[in-house]
Symmetry: C2
């Protein structure tokens, strides 16, 4: 049997040649255990990433997949190679339905210049914080010019995932008016672009107007990117070129302002933190019996969770034991 690390090097070579199966296998490695990921990261080395990384996020039902698919078509028409990571913060209630929606991306399934992969969170949320950056590095090594990270949802977790991108696109539709009213300022802080999709629905101009007005109320700052607010009808391919142009313009602003290196440094810091936390969790999982014993001591009224956590860390989690 071949040495798995040799295998990784061979797969990376094949991915650089644009072989989709090699890319798919490497992304699977990015989702697997710590040992595989460590070997993959070491084998990839760390070239400074070339690709523009674009996060697309928003509530269910706003047409993110349709928009992403239309954007991919536009990038392809401009000769760009594109990778799409469809990230599912797995939910017992919404998981299946969301995955079904992703079928739209299949129109690009036979294009050798497009890689599409789904990543699921499989249990605890932290898994995506380590898997996504590594999958981005795989797609970058495979020669992608643009990498889209598409997440579904409106929660903290989705925005954390969106923060793994250089540019974050928030997709909304008319009818989320109340939520927008309530949280305008927050949304404008988080999103580099806001796309009001389904422009044919009533109220879409109104939503755009309100968002632009809210943007106008932000204190002016020379070094701040003014959130781009655009209208699309992705299903009819309307307004897509404008989004592609705005993403490119944001990319130029990121580079010129120095914000790009700052964002990428913050992402690397977050990735290191996520790996450390993952190792700690693995260390805890490996001490299940000790944990049970400590839990029983709390239940018996002999200790409190904080003193017990200190004991756990001191005696069972020194880095040598991980």
């Amino acid at each position: 049997m071949a040495d798995p690390v040799d295998d990784v090097h061979a797969l990376i070579e094949a991915a650089r040649d644009g072989q989709p199966r090699a890319v798919a296998r490497l992304i699977s490695l990015a989702e697997s255990g710590l040992g595989s990921r460590r070997a993959l990261a070491a084998a990839l080395g760390h070239q400074s990433p070339r690709a523009a990384v674009v996060g697309v996020t928003g509530p269910p039902g706003v047409g993110k997949s349709t928009l992403t698919s239309a954007l991919v078509a536009r990038w392809r028409a401009r000769g760009e190679r594109v990778g799409v990571l469809a990230v599912d913060p797995t939910s017992p209630l919404s998981g299946g339905a969301l995955l079904g929606d992703r079928v739209r991306m299949h129109e690009h399934a036979t294009d050798p210049g497009v890689f599409v992969r789904s990543l699921a969170s499989r249990g605890h949320h932290g898994g995506l914080a380590v898997a996504v950056p590594l999958a981005v590095r795989v797609l970058d090594a495979a020669g992608c010019d643009v990498i889209v990270i598409e997440t579904v949802g409106v929660g903290q977790a989705e925005f954390e995932i969106a923060a793994l991108a250089d540019s974050t696109v928030l997709v909304l539709v008319p009818g989320y008016g109340d939520a927008i009213q309530a949280a305008k300022a927050g949304v404008l802080e988080v999103a580099d672009l806001i796309v009001v999709n389904k422009a044919d629905l009533e109220g879409s101009e109104q939503v755009v107007r309100e968002l632009r007005m809210a943007r106008g109320h932000q204190p002016p700052a020379e070094d701040r990117w003014p959130t781009a607010i655009l209208r699309t009808a992705a299903a009819r391919d309307e307004g897509i070129a404008e989004v592609v142009d705005a993403v490119a313009e944001h990319g130029r602003w990121l580079a010129a302002s120095g914000e790009l290196s700052g964002r990428r440094r913050a992402r690397l810091r977050a990735e290191i933190e996520a790996i450390v936390v993952e190792r700690v969790r693995a260390g805890l999982d490996g001490n299940r019996e000790v944990l049970d014993g400590l839990a029983d001591r709390i239940a018996a009224g002999e200790a409190d969770p904080y003193s017990v956590a200190e004991e756990m860390a001191r005696e069972h989690l020194s880095p040598g034991n991980w």
Copy 2:
């Protein structure tokens, strides 16, 4: 100035006497920094909790607050003292709107037998995993017979919070049919009770029928609680007594089957883990400059995130350094 730990003991005494302001201040402590929480946990000691802890979760707009409020009224009529923790997984998009909805609970604001408090996630999700169990312990010490943890959402995070309860109630309405179809099995695994609210809406009997049918398809097991599926019209106070009865029945089943001690042990284990991870995160935050230097080495192509994470843990995160 009084010793803050003496203060905590005095507050706990006042909370045991049922003083709502003392309870409120202690719950604020449960949300604050590690030092305060450690002192609070030590001062509370750890009596085995007496209260039944009931999680109420579900998508926005299904009437969770109205249902919770109706349940509280019913428990009060039966002479029970009730605590409600309204947990907001803070989201830039939905935060404000969800909080607004909580105003309904104000009908109980003047009842000395009801404590209502909101907990927000403030930044990273892990914060709730340590704050909620401690807040539950405060309410238990304050003599609550029932403690409701109400969370908004349909994601992994909300179910993790719901898992901090003895009994989990999932609230749905007709119209979430597709999601239910897609994830029936998962929902039935997670929820101890499913309440189909807004029974006056078209399709509610159909949803109940489908869920019961799905429940019937589960492999039979003697030691399994068959998810209770109930219909309510909380705004008209219909079906509420049945939910209260089903929660009580589930509580009896938990005790008789031995599942209660198993669930509580798992929760204590999860709480210890959350505290350890929080301490590691605090240790990382305290080494920001080291992290920046490591991130720069990755960006310069001199190292990969995994080797750097090991170095970080080995040299800067031994438990003595936290």
